[in-house]
């Protein structure tokens, strides 16, 4: 296979880590500055999608298997839910983070951090998965089958 | 006991007029008793009414029904096959 679009590939290789880093920034500074799990997840996914666009579906599959994406989707939701439930078991109500640490404020820090992380993971994984699903779609029902 | 009963009935069956005459005699006796009691003032019913009425109406009933039969009777399989009666189903 001869390498083509050398410029694009070079730029993508340079950009991708930066985008990932930015995604993490948006993720972890969300409680003080604009951002949050959702936005971070999208940004994160953008880098993976960029990778797939430039290097092709095969490379993307090698990078992260669909199986792992699915797991990540579920794991993110679970992280969110379990953090909420943890507040519940420790004496508060669902999504009440105050009991998570010594002081209420510290608890809320931990809680929001974990919850946003869960959101971020799920969103990133889902968006990549949707992209994959479309890009790898095979036509298995013909027009006339309807 | 049953056998004697059956024999007696068989005798009566062969002599229907005898049965009829016995019945008529019983009826006559009843009419007489009815009239006597009425004369004696035991009750105030109209005497012999029941007997005459019963006789006349029964004859009328049977003759009326006989006439009616001309209008309403149809062959037995009139409603077939959507009807059943008191007979074992016959094989076609």
């Amino acid at each position: 296979m001869t390498p083509r679009h050398l410029v694009l590939r070079a730029v993508a290789v340079l950009l991708a880590p930066a985008i990932l880093l930015f995604a993490l920034y948006v993720q972890f500074h969300a409680d003080y500055s604009p951002g949050g799990g959702f936005q971070a997840g999208v940004v994160f996914a953008a880098s993976l999608i960029l990778h797939a666009l430039i290097f092709g579906a095969g490379a993307a599959r090698n990078l992260i298997a669909m199986e792992h994406l699915r797991r990540a989707m579920a794991a993110g939701v679970l992280l969110y839910g379990l953090t909420g439930a943890a507040g519940m078991t420790l004496g508060g109500v669902f999504l009440d983070y105050a009991p998570l640490a010594q002081s209420a404020q510290a608890g809320r820090h931990v809680g929001v951090f974990l919850v946003e992380l869960g959101v971020g993971i799920t969103v990133a994984a889902t968006i990549v998965a949707i992209f994959r699903a479309f890009s790898e779609h095979r036509q298995d029902i013909g027009q006339e089958d309807w | 006991m049953m056998r004697r009963l059956v024999q007696k009935l068989a005798f009566l069956e062969k002599n229907p007029r005898r049965v009829f005459r016995a019945l008529a005699a019983l009826g006559g006796a009843l009419l007489a008793l009815d009239a006597l009691l009425w004369i004696a003032g035991v009750y105030k019913n109209i005497p012999v009414w029941h007997g005459l009425y019963g006789f006349v109406m029964c004859v009328a009933l049977v003759l009326g029904a006989k006439a009616m039969r001309h209008i309403v009777r149809r062959r037995e399989d009139y409603y077939a096959p959507r009807a059943t009666d008191s007979e074992e189903e016959r094989q076609p």
Binding site: M73, A75, V77, V93, L95, I141 | -
Partner: protein, 507 residues
Amino acid sequence: MSETLALHAPALVILLPLLTAPLCFLFSRAANGVWATALLVSLLSFLCAAFLLEKTFDGRVLSYHFGGFPPPLGIEYRIDMMSALMLLIVAGASLLGLLFARRSVARELPAARQSAFYVCYLLCASGLLGVAATNDAFNMFVFLEISSLAAYALIALGGDRDRRALSAAYNYLIMGTIGATFFVIGVFFLYAATGTLNMTDLADRLHALPVGSRSLYAAEAFIIVGLALKIALFPLHVWLPNAYAFAPSAATVFLSAAAAKVAIYALVRFLFSVFGLDFAIGGETLNAVILPTAMIGMIIGSFSAIFARHAKRIFAYSSIAQLGYMMLGIGLESREGLEASFVYLFNHALAKSAIFMALGCIAYQQASMKLSDLHGIARDMPWTMAAFTIAALSLIGAPLTGGFIGKWLLMDAALAQGFWLIALVIAAVSLMAVLYVWRVIEAAYLKAPTGRRRGAPRAEAPRREAPFSMLLPLWIAALLSVYFGVDTRLPVGAAEIIADSLEAAGQ
């Protein structure tokens, strides 16, 4: 312990299935394991719902504040009698459906998709439970979407057996999305006008607003139409028959028992609790719209059922007719009407799930659900068809079954307002139900079984009775539908409380 449970039950009833779903997705490969987990969780959820029902039976209202933020700031779950009854119906249907599902799913779905089925099932259940529990309009939308998306997937899973399931799911997806969009547009209008999403708070603020706010009228119109789509109210019912007919049997059981009912609940919640009957589309207008559409839906649904040839589709159309009954009670806008609707809803959930379970048992034994292929099936599957007959009697409204009390109350409610015509339509549609049920009974009991079918998809073993694990939930549902026809304390008692509170709110 009881106090802790009372505190958390409103959240637990939904969170249990909601969190178990991704858990199952993450960790389990074996379908049986996922099934067992789902069953356990459904049971716990059902117990929570029963507990909540018991707690609210004296008219008490339980409130749960998410994250400790009091309403209207935070999201509130508010369990009153109506919510509790819906929770019980959904959780109960989910439990019965899961009991039924194991063998049915193992037969109908390829091994690779069986775990996915249970995950979607749990998600759908948690979504429906969430709609019933939440008191936050936007949160309701979210749960509505969770349940709908899961339902689309559930229906599409039938595609391995019958490709038409895919198209049915697609249609449902389009229509469901339109419905949800309309709903959320309505909610946004409300939010724009009042600045709150908490429904209790919404009701208060709406009534404080000057009359004649146009955006509120639009909001109500959008919400009614959006939910009508989810309910499959005539003429927006077209997606339903195929969706129910081609979904996997276990999915049909659950969806038919719970999905449309929850949408009805949401509609009642908005019409009576949030807007109130003196609002724009209320009172006379609502009468004029809902009553005729409900009646036409009843008649058209019944006719379609009479002429349908596919056993599952017969009862899918019958569902449209039956939903018409429930809407009729709501359209009457009286205490009696609402009471009748909820009793009907409860009993219909039982009877319909039993019927679809019976059909599922048949589907377990033979691929074709065409009426002509069911000839003489009662000889091979006597227990299945006996339970089917019992449930069908309840659907018709025979005395001593749950359906009877529902129809009786509905007719009584119609007569109470002098709607003779409606009472007559109810009676006529019941007779039509006799007709379509009779077609199935006739095929199953009276027709001689046809010989080997030509071109049968696979060499079929002789038909046998369905396995015990499928008959058990079927008989539970069938017997319950008789039990609640005799001992009416639970459905009628609950419906009375609901009607009282709605009447109070609607004034």
